[in-house]
């Protein structure tokens, strides 16, 4: 038995012993260089193989390789263990209190009126309506006369309407857009006209000098009062489908009077335990159809109108109309 054969097991035992005492990657690295580096005894052992007798060489070579492999493998395992422990410790040290508040990052919001109008436009688009717009500074003819609102009608008084000149007003309804559309197109017509309208009103919780309205018009052969009811019921149930308090959306139509429709109705929705008035509607008055050159015997139609603010107030539970235009961030950020 050569010296080497005695020394190798000692070397292996020493290396394993030292390895087991290693605590950090740095210690490990020092030990690895000591044990497996260029000048390490185990490394040098292979080089000294040349000095051994040719008969012993294969046996000793195999022995050295075996010891080296075992030591290297133990080192590799230890290295991984250390890395993992160190990573774990590092990750643990990095632990965050995940319940701490996140920073305020910018999160843009659409105005609740725009959200409501977008819903309205989407629903009516699906029902086949197109969206039209018209001027807000309007001829008296389109705002009143063409809508069968005669020269003596109180709505025309300076008390209620904002005049720019004798024959020019700030439109009081978007119905004027309907007349302009009918003048320029032939039936079938299916439009909604959203936009701003103006009234000479003192400002309070439920009144503003300006608000937004949507008027709808559908003129075609064979349009019935039932179609009007169906269209508005469908619209309302879709508009309020997810609103808290809406439940199954119930709608109600009550006879009313408007100069430009006949039969006329007001429509209500049942919301949070009570009936709320939403807007007016009816079959287009034959006189209005005649005013734009349609033959009421050939086509009939329905029209409706409502305030966008009113819909938004009901949907979001807002009780003061003025909030929409005060632009208080505490309001705007809620939608």
């Amino acid at each position: 038995m050569s010296d080497l054969e005695t020394r190798l097991p000692q070397l292996e035992a020493e290396a394993m012993e030292a390895l087991s005492l290693v605590k950090t990657s740095a210690e490990y690295e020092t030990l690895r260089v000591q044990t497996l580096g260029r000048t390490a005894e185990l490394t040098l052992a292979s080089r000294s193989l040349g000095k051994a007798s040719p008969a012993d060489r294969p046996r000793l070579g195999a022995l050295i390789n075996e010891v080296k492999r075992r030591v290297e493998s133990a080192f590799e395992t230890r290295k991984n263990e250390l890395h993992k422990a160190e990573l774990d410790a590092k990750l643990l040290a990095e632990a965050l209190d995940v319940t701490l508040p996140a920073p305020d990052i910018s999160f843009g919001r659409r105005h609740p009126l725009t959200q409501t109008l977008d819903d309205i436009v989407r629903i009516f688009s699906n029902l086949g309506f197109s969206v039209v717009e018209g001027p807000e500074v309007e001829n008296v003819y389109y705002n009143f006369d063409a809508l069968n609102i005669g020269p003596d009608h109180p709505a025309r008084f300076e008390r209620d309407t904002l005049y720019v000149a004798d024959d020019v007003v700030l439109r009081t309804e978007t119905s004027s857009v309907q007349i302009r559309t009918m003048e320029n197109r032939q039936p079938p017509i299916k439009i909604i006209a959203p936009g701003r309208v103006y009234r000479r009103e003192a400002i309070d919780r439920t009144h503003l000098a300006m608000f937004n309205q949507v008027e709808g018009l559908c003129v075609a052969p064979g349009i019935t009062f039932g179609d009007l009811k169906g269209t508005l019921s469908t619209f309302l149930s879709q508009l309020f489908e997810a609103a808290p308090g809406a439940g199954t959306v119930q709608t109600r139509f009550r006879p009313h009077f408007f100069p430009f429709t006949e039969p006329s109705a007001e429509f209500d929705v049942f919301f949070n335990g009570k009936w709320l008035e939403l807007g007016g509607c009816g079959l287009v008055h034959p006189t209005v159809l005649e005013n734009v050159g349609y033959n009421p015997e050939e086509v009939t139609g329905f029209a409706f109108g409502f305030g966008i603010e009113r819909m938004a107030m009901i949907k979001f539970g807002i009780e003061d109309l003025r909030l929409f235009y005060e632009n208080d961030l505490r309001f705007l950020e809620q939608f």
Binding site: G226, R254, P263
Partner: protein
Amino acid sequence: MRISAEWLGDYVQLPPIEKLEDILLLAGLGVDERDGDRFELEVTSNRGDWLCATGLAREIGAMTEARFRAPAPDVSEDGPTIEGRVEVSIFDPEDCARYSARLIEGVKIGPSPEWVQKRLTDCGVRPINNVVDATNYVMLEWGQPLHAFDFDKLKGKIAVRRAGEDETLTTLDGQERKLSSDILIITDDDKPIAIAGIMGGADTEVSDSTVNVLLESAHFASTRVRRGVQKLGLPSEASRRFERWVDPNGCKRSLDRAAQLLADWAGGKVALDAVDVYPRPATPRVVSMRPARANEVLGLKIETAWMQNALDRLGFKTALDGESIVAQIPTRRRDIEREIDLIEEVARLYGYDRVPTTLSKGVNAAAGRPLAGRLEDRARSACLRCGLTEVATISLSNESAHANAGLSTEKAVKLRNALTEDYTLLRTSLLPSLLDVLARNKGRRLRGFEIGRIYETSPSHPLADEKRTLGVCLSDAPAPAHWQKTAAPVDFFALKAIVGNVLREFGAPESVFEPSRHAAFHPGRCASISLNGAEIGVMGEIHPLVAAKWEISHRVYVAQIDFDALVRHLRLVRRFESFSNFPAVERDFAFVVPQNLPSLRLVEAVQLGGGDLVTSARVVDVYQGANLGEGMKSLALSLRLQAPDRTLGESDIEGVSKKVIEAATALGATIRS
């Protein structure tokens, strides 16, 4: 129009009060308010005939098919004749179609009977004396405004004419009114004595000493009265009726009725005969309606006989003429002008509620995206608003991608005939997909999101359980250099801010993040996302060893939320919460707590303990230092105190502070001095 059911019951059999309310609504009379049996009704501008008890009773009768009973028009003319004592001339029948008058002599002014006073009060009319009350009573009964003059204060002939530009009249309310040529007035030989249809003059009004009364019942043109009201800014109960329409053929009947009541209540004698100047008698309109057209326009199939009967119930005289119903319209209904007006009457009596709801041909009520899809869009838009870019990844994946992300494929939907080893199953998580995206964008500051499905076999789903899932991924690659050097940090809280915004968009509360562990995530930087006790997602920094599997060497962050669960748990439309306009007070507290105490526990305790005045509590500083003791940290909280209804006083603030400290102490915190 205010009216009590008690009065209406004189003329028609009434249903129970709730039913009556429904009937009024269906007729087109909006009930603005009801107090016991008193109604405040909204009368539309086309229905002047509804501004009286008989008009309303007639309508109720038409709706319920109950018989309408008109009060008897008898008058006993016990006094000497009026002839030669009262003369009336009308200048322009356009302004005044009819003027009738009666003389009642020897009245004794006093209060009217109590039941009369009660009825007037129910209608919002103040009782004055038996003479004035009789005129008001008949106005409320028949809708005909009447005026009583003190006959002895009149001189000579009564005339109805336009006022001159320089004339004035002191009205009943004591105000001197400047008149003008577009105002219609009543005069005697000397002076104006009343503004026609609006208000009488003070000089000739009935007073306690009045003995002889001249009663006026006339028809003034709507436009003329409206001009007068506009000009003088003086609306009255009378003008409200004339502006709409008062039946000229009812003047005499109402005059007789008022004369008789006046005699009954004030004890005078009604002079024989009346003055009745009626230059242009109003004649009933004749309007015809085709029942077939009515059905066509309304979308109904009502029998002709039913329609005819309905119109008869309204007091129209109808006859059949070939395919049409020809109706004679009483002069009290000026609103009925053409066929469509009769069609509306048919619809009203039939009931708008009974008209079947239809959609015109070819219209699909369910067109467009369903709610689920729209909510997905809303989440998408919320992500975009946080500055994220949408990514699209393939649903097909493989075992090793899942294993690398620490995911089991036990429940994965596996393919029988996979073409490639890359695609052997459907993903059970968005994690491998998002890690692919992050790996593709190594070195770029990617901020991405995807709303996609994940798939698992499940006993409750015969095919597969497909869950819509929202994934967000952020990469903390170095930001490109910029002269302002202001790139926001990309870290755990940047991701939390994004997830928080998306959740809030659907109404989630703040406290949904709790510390958690997940094989793919950094053990100290992982949070579960829970709603109503159910875990709906996970988020955090990806474990470096997992990132290494994708050869990503910088920190990356991922969140994954079960979108279906999110929508199920949350409120989709926010209810506006009003905010206080009273000043808010900020108070800061610093507490020392064990290092492993999540700050949220302290915030929750302080909010709950502090009470309603604490509107928010935020962590504003976290500090760890040897001076605090081993394993301790300091949390500084800023509390916002505000009351909805008042400015807070020092004692309010002290009270809250005390409760806040108590609540924190109960949690093991000590206040840091």
